[in-house]
Amino acid sequence: MSAPLTLKDFKSDQEVRWCPGCGDYAILSAMQKALADLGVSRENTVFVSGIGCSSRFPYYMNTYGFHSIHGRAPAVATGVKCANPELDVWVITGDGDGLSIGLGQLVHAIRRNLDFKIILFNNRIYGLTKGQYSPTSETGKVTKSTPDGSLDQPLNPLTVALASGATFVARCVDADVKHMQEVIARAAAHRGTAFVEVYQDCNVYNHHAFEYATDKKQRPDHLLYLEHGKPMVFGAGSDRGIRLDGLRPVVEKLDNGNQDGLLKHDESVHDPTLAMFLARMKHPEFPEPVGVLRAVSAPTYERRLMAQVQAAVEKRGNGDLDDLFNSGDVWDAK
């Protein structure tokens, strides 16, 4: 065996062309580091993306890569996985690419539970087309296309993924590279569709959209780092927690660090109610959960497809062309 690969081995020879300061850089190096750490092979790894600043990602990975068309990366990836289930496939998309034009492809890929990992770079704006509001932009967003403020309610990427039946759902922020690597590694380990939202700063068209979540000082108060089986605690001194009140979460100031009665995180429960309601926790009312919201196991599409092929071969024998040609009502002319 050759020497283990390092972060550098996953860098392609192409110049990275994002704006200086763009959050995409952090995601790129987190991915490169994570893949090196996981010890995957370059030739077995495929990055598929749509169109957007984020979707330039594959060019910078020294693996196989497909920069497809706007919104359709999940469909392209579906074909890749059906043709060769052995490949490690990553789908890179943006909030516009994945939730606007590509929403249908995203949802349907997720409900099939194809075994690929989707990373959605959420900068709450259309970067590449120079700053129109996106499906995750807050209502009232003033942009080039909405000088008087946008009118639509934003979509919540995690809710969409959960409503689609996602078997793995997670979130991380570009400013916390170490945590991002962990999440990426968890996604990679999942069998089935993994959906990861990354809060990403577009420092040209939507700078500081996630400042509350990325700024080092504010972060502890505004992010809830989820850990399976652990009570939900957050705050600078781990001084607050989440309790359940009927069907609603409540923030509770901890009494001397006493965590009794706090909600415990369970990423593996099959019913998505908990994950759904975590996904809906929004700043500033609540801290926003990061980490793995849901990770349950279910058979993947391509495995089941191959099982059907296998079963057919077992039942009918490996298809024979002459049998096929001669099937049905045949007759002979002399």
Partner: protein, 637 residues
């Protein structure tokens, strides 16, 4: 009534009543619920197995079940059988079986004068007459004076005949299509065996239904034999088909089988990503049953996902195929451009139907030619092949895969609703006789260049999983050789030329344009796709009349065969016949700056032979090449 079990052999034939004829065209017509497609298919199979050449034209409504008894609900199935080669289901029909007043009304105009008309008189009730829009009962008027009318209470007879099977009255009446079929079998002197076997296979688990259908079939046959209602019977002798084994295939079946064959010939996996749409869905249905050939079918959420999954599969090394009809192909165009730019081999099947927009979903048309060849953004060439008949779909599928993988580009197969649903005998080939499709994937060889071209002008097909070939593709313009993104002006021109050049090279890989008849003369009839049959028959007829007429049928629509210009230039007149308003005509004129004339029809139906004969005769009478009577591109005359 005799026990059908004792009737396994056809009753002795009173030969004096049987007249031999060369060909005969029959149409079964009834309500959508009357099982006319089934009756037609059975008659077709029996005749094919009997050895006739056959050609069929099914015609059914766009609604699943339009209201019973209405014109909208009429379903028809036309078959021509012949002791010679035939290419069409026939212009006019010799016999019409009309199961209700609406079927009579919708189909009578196509029945030749003096033709046989069999009606199910049970259904000519005042209510049904009204539903069909008949003010008075045609059976009681002189509307039918020109025909040999046979009024038979088919429903009553059927219910009576199947009694012993013990079905309910509704189910009993449902067997009436087999009664009608049996009668027609008698009339045209066909054996019952094939249909009997089919009934056994199909209803094996429901003995009562199987039995009832058999009883009805025989009852119909026997009625013909005993009723003395018919002065004559007809027999069409077996055709002198080239020796070999045959089976009937519809175009959609032939495409599916051809794709499976091509994939095997290429030692590949077939990935078929598609979204249902009339009249293409059956390809998906057939392929979904071929999983033991490692066929992987994927019903996508829409046409865009279907074609994109196909592109992904091709990228990963499979034979990627997608199919749709006009509206769905429109949706796929953006992604087809991606396949052009990434130079990946995919097959896109367009089973054309009446347009524009949702149009006439169950009717045939050839109006997607422009869409196929030039209907994308930018200079975005794909290769296009149009099978000429149902059976030819088999060969076309194999050729498409061969060309797509050799030249690394999308190939579009332009079928149509007529080819897709109608059937003709296909001469069964031996797998071993088919030429393998050689595919060489790139392998690790040091400095890999994803856009370095080989001697076909093709870039290497380097599939994920191969160490050392890691590379990135995408829809932005690619740098020659390296495949990196490039905005360089000269590179863009170079790449556009190279993509076009691949298309041009195909012209030298495909057979030169053949001509049926003399290679020079007064008139060349030019056709493509499903209009082949009518034009070939028309040409034969014209030639027999001594006219200087030849026929050139195009299969490759892009590129045109290398010698096409020369072929066209050798005739005084060129007449392009197509089921659109002049799409090939315009392309030919545009390419060869030659005043080709056109015969155009968009009525959701194939050409009749007589329409082409008439048009040809008009052109031949014209003093010289007439000047273009073209109108705008929206409406070329």
């Amino acid at each position: 009534m005799k026990n059908p079990d004792t009737l396994e052999e056809a009753p002795a034939i009173d030969d004096s009543r049987i007249r031999l004829v060369d060909r005969v065209a029959i149409r079964f017509a009834g309500d959508s619920g009357d099982g006319m497609q089934l009756a037609g298919t059975q008659f077709t199979n029996t005749s094919a197995i009997f050895g006739n050449d056959v050609s069929t034209l099914p015609d059914f409504p766009a609604e699943i079940r339009a209201p019973a008894g209405t014109l909208a609900g009429v379903s028809g199935f036309q078959i021509q059988i012949s002791s010679d080669d035939i290419f069409t289901p026939g212009d006019r029909i010799d016999a019409l079986i009309a199961m209700n007043p609406a079927a009579l009304k919708a189909n009578l105009a196509d029945l030749a004068g003096g033709g046989i008309l069999i009606v199910n008189s049970d259904e000519f009730t005042p209510a049904n007459l009204k539903r069909a829009g008949y003010a008075e009962n045609p059976l009681e008027s002189d509307l039918l004076a020109d025909y040999r009318v046979h009024q038979i209470p088919i429903t009553t007879h059927t219910v009576e005949a199947v009694k012993e099977a013990g079905l309910g009255s509704k189910e009993s009446a449902r067997c009436r299509n087999f009664y009608a079929l049996g009668l027609v079998f008698w009339l045209y002197d066909r054996p019952l065996e094939t249909t009997q076997n089919w009934i056994r296979r199909k209803f094996g688990k429901r003995e009562d239904i199987a039995r009832a259908n058999e009883l009805a079939l025989h009852a119909g046959y026997n009625f013909g034999e005993t009723a003395e209602m018919f002065a004559l019977r007809y027999r069409v002798e077996p055709a002198k088909l080239p020796p070999g084994r045959y089976r009937n295939l519809t175009g959609n079946q032939a495409l599916a089988i051809g794709l499976v064959a091509a994939t095997r010939l290429a030692k590949k996996t077939l990935f078929y990503g598609s979204y249902p749409i009339t009249p293409a869905s059956d390809i998906l249905h057939v392929l979904a049953g071929y999983k033991h050939f490692d066929v992987r079918t994927f019903q996508a959420e829409d046409e865009i996902a279907a074609v994109c999954s196909t592109i992904g599969a091709a990228y990963a090394g499979a034979i990627g195929v997608t199919a749709s009809s006009g509206p769905g192909i429109a949706l796929k165009q953006e992604a087809i451009g991606l396949a052009v730019m990434t130079e990946l081999p995919i097959i896109v099947i367009d089973v054309q139907r009446g347009g524009p927009s949702t149009g006439l979903p169950t009717k045939t048309e050839q109006a997607d030619l422009w869409q196929a060849i030039v209907g994308r953004n930018g200079e975005c060439p794909v290769a296009v092949i149009a099978p000429m008949s149902p059976a030819d779909c088999f060969e076309a599928a194999i050729e498409a895969v061969r060309i797509a993988t050799r030249f690394m580009l999308p190939v579009m197969i332009l079928s149509d609703g007529y080819i897709a649903n109608s059937a003709e005998p296909w001469r069964v080939v031996k797998a071993a006789d088919l030429a393998p499709i050689e595919i060489r994937h790139a392998t690790n060889g040091g400095d890999f260049k994803p856009y370095q071209r080989d001697d076909h002008g093709s870039r290497p097909w380097a599939i994920p999983g191969t160490p050392g070939l890691e590379h990135r593709v995408g829809g932005l313009e690619k740098a020659a050789i390296t495949g990196n993104v490039s905005y360089d002006p000269d590179n863009h021109q170079r790449m556009i030329n190279q993509r076009a050049d691949k298309i041009d090279r195909i012209a030298h890989e495909v057979p030169p344009q053949a001509v049926f008849g003399d290679t020079t003369g007064d008139l060349l009839i030019v056709t493509w796709g499903g209009t082949y049959g009518a034009a070939r028959t028309a040409t034969q007829r014209l030639q027999a009349q001594g006219a200087s007429v030849s026929h050139a049928h195009l299969r490759w629509m892009n590129p045109f065969p290398a010698n096409l210009g020369e072929v066209l230039g050798s005739f005084k007149h060129v007449l392009v016949c197509e089921l659109n308003m002049g799409q090939l005509q315009t392309l030919i004129r545009g390419r060869y700056a030659l005043d080709a004339e056109g015969l155009h029809k968009v009525k959701g139906r194939p050409f009749m032979v007589s329409e082409i004969v008439d048009a040809a005769e008009r052109v031949l009478k014209a003093p010289s090449k007439s000047t273009g009577t073209h109108k705008s591109n929206g409406g070329v005359a």
